[in-house]
Subunit: 347 residues, 2 copies
Amino acid sequence: SRSIDLAVIPGDGIGQEVVAQGLKVLNAVLPQDVKLETKEYDLGAQRWHRTGETLPDAELEALRSHDAILLGAIGDPSVPSGVLERGLLLKLRFAFDHFINLRPSKLFPNTATPLAGRPDIDFVVVREGTEGPYTGNGGSLRTGTPAEVATEVSVNTAYGVERVVRDAFERAAARPRKKLTLVHKNNVLVYAGHLWKNTFDKVAAEYPQVSTDYLHVDAATIFFVTQPERFDVIVTDNLFGDILTDLAAAVTGGIGLAASGNINPTGAFPSMFEPVHGSAPDIAGQGKADPTATVLSVALLLRHLGYEAEAVRIEDAVSADLAERDGAAAPRTTDQIGDALAVRVAS
Amino acid sequence: SRSIDLAVIPGDGIGQEVVAQGLKVLNAVLPQDVKLETKEYDLGAQRWHRTGETLPDAELEALRSHDAILLGAIGDPSVPSGVLERGLLLKLRFAFDHFINLRPSKLFPNTATPLAGRPDIDFVVVREGTEGPYTGNGGSLRTGTPAEVATEVSVNTAYGVERVVRDAFERAAARPRKKLTLVHKNNVLVYAGHLWKNTFDKVAAEYPQVSTDYLHVDAATIFFVTQPERFDVIVTDNLFGDILTDLAAAVTGGIGLAASGNINPTGAFPSMFEPVHGSAPDIAGQGKADPTATVLSVALLLRHLGYEAEAVRIEDAVSADLAERDGAAAPRTTDQIGDALAVRVAS
Ligand SMILES: CC(C)[C@H](C(=O)O)[C@@H](O)C(=O)O
Ligand SMILES: CC(C)[C@H](C(=O)O)[C@@H](O)C(=O)O
């Protein structure tokens, strides 16, 4: 019989609340014969305040044994910037070699977009997850003096670029429009840009059915707001992907709806799924958080584990739920949205 | 008697056409007693094709003697990516120590914005111009092999960060709202981020009248589309500024209206003014290009040289011209727009 052994990191702020709804929907959608086991990990700001630890080796080892990880949100203003990001979130992405940071962007019916004319938005960003300016390479000299020099090194390897580019071509080839856009800044970042562009062109030759183009990252932001319907699949660097996917979330109704997967497609390590939004401490514990991004992250998790039909059921449920949301009514609580989605996927 | 000794680099594509209108308006706005001398420099794609040169030392030296530089647009698809950017545009910014890359963003009346609800947008991005990932530091190893490693080094100095941060505080203090936002990514780029944030906080103590905040670059893109009216002055890194100002241009009616100044406020070198848009080879020579961004760049040029009243006259003329543009009428030619603006500033 089938089983899913899931690690759960609720984290900080609204993390706990949204993860609870994600698990509710997961339980509701799974066929009877699939045994779901979950184990919660206490990681995040509170743990750090209590023990000074972000992600001890023992827990990293324990996490490794699971089939996948569901994460709520990490971060709190009381923790110095960078401590939890580098010590926990990015540590997981790097330790488990999550080289695909997958971020679908879709403008669902009946949701608010800041864009006039409600363009038809449905694209996926395949963001590299283990290289670029995120490697922690760099340092500072004469720190705190008027002679300080601080550097950040973006590290890009043929190995790392080729695997994410190949993954993106596969995803593009599997979609109806079959279009892949490379985003970089190869007119300024010539060394990394050259590697990305050459790799992209080389792999493109193996996918004649996929149409391709290239955009500088600055120009890409323009098209995100003026012509987002032109995009199908985008492949890009870790930092450009970070920036573009927040913008994508904003134009498709806000980060309350944006899901993501930190994926190692080889299966060598557990992949991790999380909403793009943060811990939103200002609304934590009040039942105000929209759990939809977490629920959509559960869909990505199921798809990754081979439960395609269940993933689609969740995505359809979210579409239907959003289509029927009554903008004029009082906003539903976190729990009510979770309940509504659980009912839909079960039926 | 007063005089302006101006270097003009029309460049490629629509560059020639828009610069002609910029000069037309400049001539029209200048008081009788100001003698305007211009000298044209033949630089850009054609020159490179003809001679292989981007910016020879002799011309760099000659450019140095002018009071300011007006640039149209540089770039053509026939030139490999990076050649003209690094060999000409960035070379000028670095050689003349243009550490302030000034980019005002304003939603003028009666112009198209992709944003619903036409928010009230009027902010200025002070982009650092001589450091960060633009320094050309980096390289590649085993280039073209499966073992290639390519790096890009972002270089940030206390000297470089402090001078741009101070400039931004001065600009914020001189504006009615007196608000300055630092944009960086200090939760990931911790070394550079630390330097930027510490410098910002240190200088802030000298400007108690300026209110400050900090945003990560990814979050900033969200606010650019959901709440752009929250921004007054933004100070940021070279690359983040590049990305944010294209997005800013898009939400304020397109890069057809976005002006910029590459400024050395010390006066040690000539500053350079240019529209943010590129050479648009697809519409070059057809009289279709909107010269407004170039005309607004001329206003920045005049302000930099101390002709504040004339700068304001140009900006007011552009506002009035846009307010009266008839969206239903046939689009005016490049020349007609230039004529209309010249008439307005002269009267
Ligand atoms: C919190 C931060 C480290 C992270 C990132 O920069 O990748 C976040 O912005 C994201 O996009 O997942
Ligand atoms: C052309 C390119 C080098 C330049 C930059 O990246 O600065 C442009 O995008 C700009 O914003 O002026």
